[in-house]
Amino acid sequence: MQSNRLGWILLAPTLVILFFFGVLPFIYVVYVSFHQWNPFAADPTMIFNGADNFRKIVFDAEFLNSVSVTVIFVLFAVISELVVGYVLAQAFMKEFPGKAIFRTIHTLPLIMAPIIVGSVWKLMMTPSIGIIPHYLNAWFGISINIGTSPVAAFATIIIMDIWHWTPLVTLTLIAALVSLPPDPFEQAQIDGANKRQIFFHITVPMIAPAVVATVFIRLMDALRTVDEVWMLTGGGPGSATRFVGVHIFKEVFPKTNYGYGSTISVIVLYLTIVACWLLYVTMLAPRNKKD
């Protein structure tokens, strides 16, 4: 009992902070989502309007479009990051000249704020001044303009996200690979498994928990991507890159529509939880159930 009480006392500061900065704001957002509230309008009062905001969402074509754009973005980005991250992690497991320097450089994007990543990529991508359109044109005769081409804008954002976040995946996968016991892999060779079979029968199941955790983190992050996209394309051209995060941002900032913005946030949170749950159920739950 003594140690139990001590445990709570030691946890208390964290719990208090978490309560004020995590739980309370969340409850407040849920509360606001049931109201019509525009604090910067002529009438700044908060008016309870039941489920009106939620009803509105279902018919909000821009919101629905932003969800599908986001899902496509997340699928492309997270899957590419996993594949590239795994290949890099395997490469870093081996020795090669310049490995330490390469590994350091490779993690640099991680320490950059998204807003800066967005501005740098904007600088690199803007036609007539950007280095990338220039060389694409000079070397391959391809002319791209993220200001007018939805595909180019969308692809650039995915590549920017891969560039920014793959190091995170690499780092977690390296940690997972390093901690794998060597014996089952040697045993599998003796049991007659080839490289491909070892990968699917031994490696993948053994690093699955780390992979799922990484995907959770990337999924949650990617679903609320705002700053980089805002910087780079502002959600355009048209609504080609108007992800939910950008949509909420536009709803809340130019329009100062706090009530409806909160409603979208709540729904997006819900969708995120559902996505993570689906992932967990398909990847890990069958195994854990038998534990």
Binding site: D183, E186, Q187, I190, G192, N194, K290
Partner: protein
């Protein structure tokens, strides 16, 4: 089934050489035990047999084929690791069936073989469990099952019993030996435990520091150890070694230790003054009225036997006798030694004379 030939095998890790020309011939169906203290290179040799470690020089052949460059999966060997190396995410059934699945056998054949192995090893109840839900002994048997479903040319075991408690170790020792009698497959078995080696092997290979010290049948090694190392390693409790020289005292040729203890000698052509190490096994010493006088240090009764530790000056000698025996510390005890059981070793080369 196959014979195995290890021919002048050398192993280097970078510039460090850990195996210095090892030669072992293993007959078809033989149970060979590699034994030696920790770090002597037993696992390395076994892993070279398995193909998990490259051979720096020399040749290893399984059957009639030199396998130096053959990857593990094509060597047709099964191996049981000290850690058992079970696949943590697979059930017992899938663990045992894994090699068959990799070999592309059909489901019904796999099922039949897995159940057959589970039956032999008493694992039928646990087929649906995961490794972490098993005890050490059960895990060990799963690893065995995964090896025997293969029906390989050679079984390799790396200290498979060293993580088990003493009682289970004895049971599994018997089971492995029985398995060998039933299957008749060549087995190479690594252990640091000389009792395991003595009880299981057809042939023992004693290793030290990456070299083979002696190869022979268990009793052969016990009766005729080639040098001090083998003599001390084989047999429990260990042989007594006393340093001294050969003298003629009162017209009788005897051994005199550095502390002046006089012990009986077998027939020998060695000249007086030759420096030797005198070896006598504790179980070859009896307690009587006319033996060599020593002082009791400790008496350890185990019920069936009594071990008596005694000394003379700086020389310690222990005896293992069947009879119950009691003596106060520092009292006199007389050890009777039959010269026929004495081993003499050269003091500098440590080789048997």
């Amino acid at each position: 089934m196959a014979q195995v030939k290890i021919d002048n095998v050398i192993k280097r890790y970078g510039s460090v050489q850990v195996m210095h020309g090892v030669n072992v011939d293993i007959d078809d169906g033989e149970f060979v035990v590699l034994v030696g203290p920790s770090g002597c290179g037993k696992s390395t040799l076994l892993r070279m047999l398995a193909g998990l470690e490259e051979i720096s020089d020399g040749a290893i052949s399984i059957g009639d084929r030199v396998v130096n460059d053959v990857p593990p999966k094509e060597r047709d060997i099964a191996m049981v690791f000290q850690s058992y190396a079970l696949y943590p995410h697979k059930t017992v059934y899938d663990n045992i069936g894994f090699p068959l699945k990799m070999a592309g056998r059909d489901k019904s054949e796999i099922d039949q073989k897995v159940r057959g192995a589970a039956d032999i090893l008493d694992l039928t109840k646990y087929l649906k469990r995961y490794p972490k839900e098993l005890s050490g002994g059960q895990r060990q048997r799963v690893a065995m099952g995964r090896a025997i479903v293969r029906d390989p040319q050679v079984f390799l075991f790396d200290e498979p019993l060293s993580n088990l408690d003493a009682k289970l170790r004895v049971t599994m020792r018997v089971e492995i030996k029985e398995l060998h009698q039933r299957l008749g497959t060549t087995i190479v078995y690594v252990t640091h435990d000389q009792i395991e080696a003595m009880t299981m092997a057809d042939k023992i290979v004693v290793m030290r520091d990456g070299r083979v010290e002696q190869i022979g049948a268990p009793l052969d090694l016990y009766d005729n150890p080639a040098n001090v190392f083998v003599a001390g390693f084989i047999g429990s409790p260990s042989m007594n070694f006393i340093h001294g020289q050969i003298v003629t005292d009162g017209g009788v040729r005897q051994f005199r230790s550095d502390s002046g203890l006089l012990l009986p000698l077998p027939q020998t052509a060695l000249p007086d003054g030759h420096k030797v190490t005198y070896g006598i096994r504790p179980e070859h010493i009896a307690i009587g009225n006319h033996g060599v006088p020593l002082r009791v240090v400790v008496v350890e009764p185990t019920g069936s036997e009594t071990q008596v530790f005694a000394k003379h000056g700086g020389d310690f000698v222990d005896a293992l006798v069947k009879d119950r025996f009691k003596a106060a510390p520092n009292s006199e005890v007389r050890f009777v030694i039959d010269p026929a059981n004495v081993h003499l070793f050269d003091r500098t080369t440590e080789q048997r004379l």
